[in-house]
Structure formats: C-alpha cells, structure tokens
Symmetry: C2
Subunit: 358 residues, 2 copies
C-alpha cells in the first residue's frame, strides 16, 4: 500500500507564481497523478507524471456524453508539515459520484495514498500566506472513443494541484449578495444533484452569469419540483441562523452533500448550537426575516470555507441580513473552522491528515 508509486520526472521544473497573485485554479504544479481504467485490466498504471496536456480521442465519451466527475479539497502548510483536510471524505464522495453516472469506483485508500505521495513531491508548491492553500482537484472522465451511448469502457483519473490565494484576499469576511433563482433549475430528485458530476456545473452557468450581470455574486437554487425549498448556492451549501438555531436544507438527493457542511454541523453541535436539517421554504425565510428572526445566513464550501450572505433577492423582494455585516455565529464558526484547518487550534476529530515525508 505505501510502496512508492511510479514517478516520471520532468526535465525542468516550472517557475512558481507570485504568491501575492495566486487567484483560484489559475496555476498548476509540476506534476499530476494519473491512473487509467479499462474494462479488462480495471484501474491500472497509477503514476506521478509531469503536469501537461493530455491526448484524447475526438470521440471521447467524457466530452460527448459528460461521463465525468470531480472533487475539490485543500492542503495547508503548518510550519514544516503539509496537512490535508478530511481527504477520506472526498474519496468517499467521488465513489458516490462515480456510481451515479455508471463509472467504475476507485479504491479510496489507494487513491489517498497516491495523493499523499503526489503532495509530498509538490511540498514547495503549498503556499503559506494566510488563507492560502494548495487546491487539489481529482477528476475522472470517460476516454472511450466511440459514439454509442453507453457506459464507457475506458476512463482516466487525474489529480492536479493548484496553489490558490485566499478567498477573502487575506482580509476579513465580506458578505455576499445572493440571487434566488426562480427560472433555471440545477437539479431534481432522481437526477444527479447529489453527485459532483460535470454536467451539474454546465447546467448552472447561465443562471450564474445572468445573476452576475445584475450585480449578484451567486445564485441560490430552489428545488426543481415545487420551486419552493432552498437547496444550495453555486459551490456552497447554505446555512441560516434562526432564533439562535442553525438550520440547513436536508440532503434529499438533489443537493451536494458538502464536506464543509458536514463539518460545520459537527463543529456547531460541539460548540453547543442546536442544528436542524430540514426543508426550508424561501417564503418561510422571507417571513422570518420580516419578523426579525432570520439572524444570519452563510454559505459553506471548500473554496470560500464560510461566506456570510448580506443580501437575498427573491422575485421582487430584496432582504438585507444582519445589516449586511458578518454575524456573530458566522464569525465564530469561521474562526473555529479555519483555526482547525490552519493548525492554530486543536483538532479533536482528527480532520487533519499530515502528509508523510516519503
């Protein structure tokens, strides 16, 4: 298991980007993990190879029929150590995603081991500024080059790494403005919403672009059946603080089960909050707001960690949350959560996984 995997060295290492201008997902490290699947051999040929263009068939089913799933997690620098945050959860989720669109599962342990070896090779790429991290992107896609619509017989798995800047530019949390989408639908029960499939993101782009044009940062999706219950934001799950209680939409098949969501729920309970996972109607939120009981709203996801919501627009109503300021509960959860991620506070749950020096 912890044998060293094949390593194909590149001729010349790349120049590292300016740590002040990392952005998100713009720069990639020197190496990537590569793994192939075919029907006869199963998963094979796990190796670390130079990051660079790959060759695919013009008929590759991943492109034509969207058989593609991905994950996103982060590595942090803690002094001399590199630490992954709950990576087991991402490999568990990728298997759920793979299953949903008829792709072969991976061995979670083996992939985690491969990832550790890759990150070990790329230690110097993990940025150390506040809020900075090495973003890790596993992706699996169909490579069979034939046009019949069926589950592909060939797949490629890659893990690519991207040093990324702080979501908040290193400063304090800043509230976002969110548009409640009432025309387009992201996912519906029975569909692929709970899986991290490529197609879910394609389906979300038009609404996102239109909301941006009108000055909104993100969209909040409603359920596809009744167009009534809030689901999640573009790449975050959503939380509400209602009369001191933490409330979040329950996982019902159409919402991505975020790892940040899960962790925040666990953390909040430890901190003494009551947490409710249930259906939350958009009309209920507006009413609660009008009664002064919708105290805080925030999104939770790997990229932003926690992102306070300052404004919500639904149909012809615009409501302002907590004076467009970061609320107390939001800040408290953020501080604890980032404290654990960055190594500043204790990690009683073993969420941090130190990358060995191989």
């Amino acid at each position: 298991m912890s044998n060293k995997i094949e390593f194909v060295k590149r001729e010349q290492l790349k120049e590292k980007p300016d740590p002040k201008n990392l952005g998100f997902g713009q720069h990639f490290t020197d190496y990537m993990l590569s793994y192939d699947y075919d029907k006869d051999k199963g998963w094979h040929d796990l190796k670390i190879v130079p990051y660079g263009p790959i060759e695919i068939s013009p008929a590759a089913q991943g492109i034509h029929y969207g058989q593609s799933v991905f994950e996103g997690l982060k590595a942090y620098k803690h002094g001399d150590d590199i630490v992954l945050f709950r990576p087991d959860q991402n490999f568990k989720r990728i298997n759920n995603s793979l299953e949903r669109i008829n792709m072969p599962k991976i061995d979670e342990e083996e992939l985690l081991e491969g990832l550790k070896q890759l990150v070990d090779v790329e230690r110097d790429w993990v940025p150390e500024g506040e809020g900075q991290s090495l973003y890790i992107r596993p992706v699996v896609f169909a490579t069979e080059g034939t046009l019949g619509v069926h589950a592909s017989h060939n797949y490629k798995l890659l893990i690519i790494l991207s040093p990324s800047g702080s979501y908040y530019g290193g400063g304090s949390l800043s509230p976002t403005k969110i548009y409640v989408e009432d025309e387009y639908v992201r996912a519906v029960r029975g569909g692929t919403g709970f899986a991290k499939t490529a197609g879910n993101y394609a389906a979300s782009l038009l609404a996102q672009t239109q909301a941006n044009k009108e000055g909104w940062d993100q969209v909040l999706w409603l359920d596809g059946v009744e167009r009534k219950y809030v689901e999640e934001v573009g790449s975050m799950n959503i939380f509400f603080v209602i009369n001191g209680k933490l409330v979040t939409p329950k996982l019902d098949g159409s919402i991505l089960p975020g790892i940040t969501r899960k962790s925040i729920i666990e953390l909040a309970k430890k901190l003494g909050y009551e947490v409710e996972e249930r259906h939350v109607a958009i009309d209920e939120l507006i009413e609660l707001h009008d009664k002064g009981e919708l105290e805080e709203v925030f999104g939770a996801g790997t990229a932003a960690v926690i992102s306070p919501v300052g404004k919500l627009k639904y149909e012809d109503r615009e409501i302002t949350i907590n004076n467009f300021e970061t609320g107390e509960t939001t800040q408290k959860l953020y501080d604890h959560y980032v404290g654990i991620q960055s190594g500043k506070i204790e990690d009683p749950n073993g969420w941090r996984v130190v990358v060995p020096k191989y």
Copy 2:
C-alpha cells in the same frame, strides 16, 4: 461563403472498414472539421484536418464542468450524390444548446458550408448498403484550462464522421421492449433537457444499464416534477397511435426537440393523420391499452429513424402493444420517411440537401 476552407492533408489514408460490420460510431473517416473559439478572436481557424487525437489541458473546463454540446445527423448515398438530411435543423438546435449552457453561438450557414466541404472530401466513406449512412457528429466543448466555475473563454468545435450500419441489420423493423423509469430522472423544466448537452447523457446511463440488465432495450423517461407524464426514450422521441390519431408529448422544456419528431409530425399531417402534441400521462396509456385503444407505439430519432415499441413495463404492469408486431401506421411512416431519406420517393419539402462537388 463558399470559398474553400483550409485543408490539411494527411500522409496516408486509412483502410476502410468492412461494410458488413460497420456498427454505430465505431469507425471514423480520414478527416474532421476543426474550429476554435477564444474570447478575443471569436470563432476562428476553420479547417479540415486529419482525424486523430487532440491535445487538451488536464484542467479543460469541458471535462471538469461539462460545458459540451453535440449534434447527430446523417448523410446518405443516392447514386453518385451524397445527400444530407435537414442539416439546417441540427445547426439551429446546436445554437439553442450552446445558448443554454452559456457557450458562444456559431454561424449556422458557415458551419453547414464547412460540413459540406468535409463530406465532399469524404465521399468515398459514405456507405451505400440499405439503411447504411455516414453518421455526422458535431461537438463543441470548453477548452479553457482553469478551475474557476464560469463560462469558459475558449472552445473547440469538431465535426467527426462515422460510417454506420443499418440499425435493423438491413432487415425489417423489429419491436423493442421499453422500461418506464420511475426512479431516475433525466431532466426537469428549468434544466437542460431541451438542449443536447453532454451532461444529459451522463445522467441517463445508470437507468439505461439497469434496464438492459433486466432485459429491456431502452428506458422511457417520466417528467421530473410529477413523475407522471411520459417524455422521451434514451435517444428517441416517442409517439402513440391512439384511435387512429398520432399523439406525442409536447415540448415543454425538458424534452429534446427531435428533428425526426418534427419531420414525422409534418409528414403524418401530409399523409392525412391527425396529430396531437400534448401531455401524455403513463396512467392514461395503461388505461387506453386496457380499453384496446393504444394501437401502436414507436420511437423516432436519427439513429433508429423509427423504432416500433412492442412492450412497455411500468411499475408492476407489463403491456404488449399490437401483439409485439410493427403496426400499420408505424410501418407506413417508416416507409415514407426512409423513402425520402434514401431518395426512393419524392422530397416535396426540400429536406434533402445535396453535397456539392467542390
């Protein structure tokens, strides 16, 4: 407009496949059409190049976020001529698909001209056996290699060509067995169902595989909201003959507007049939069947043209349609339709487009 586009010759032409064993989408011709888009230049660099692997970034957004749409149409050999069937409709539909997932539209005329020149080069690849054709697959996908979720700034369009066998092995129509899917959902109003996006097909694979395992050829999708109204089959629209009338689900945002569907409706009206586009509940179909009024069922799509349905399974009911035989109306529409496509009968609507000799 009809200037000759750039042509990059390949060193050696491929060997042509055995016309008796073409299958579908297995073999590809010597050349493909290639077109690139970037934000500054727009669509540029239209050319005919050797068919072969393409290089993409491991972070290509088409793979990670499913920004990819495609089309499917056919060319037939009529004596010395090569004929395309309603290609204008496919380029119109690809623009609707592109728009839905926030991709740049193409110039329909220009692409049709490019396609004609490509097919002209590949004349010898169009098979001439009964029911055989050259399947044409345009595909457009995002190539930008960055990980932020947004509409990509770079795209590639390819048109690839595949000589394909007869769906019915040259023989007569044979009825299929169809499973009415009551667990998984393909599309929902507000989503991408009406567009030919890659993700729609990924979403459909698991249900298809499970149905196949239980001996059913295809699944019939129900609407995602009420799970009550029939929508379409895997890659066909669906028609019912009810008391001599032709009935098909109306286009409501979640169904692909098939070009065969549209053509069959036009043709049937000319032949004197009454045609109804409306919601069709699965329970209504079962009831009609029990009363002896569900006379025929067939699917309609480019691949199969018309495919009679002999059995439907919904929950614990299995119903047999027309004694598991091809019905009179189905056969009549098939004969007329294929007659027009193959050049055997008149084409009063100008559906056939002859490829010029450049």
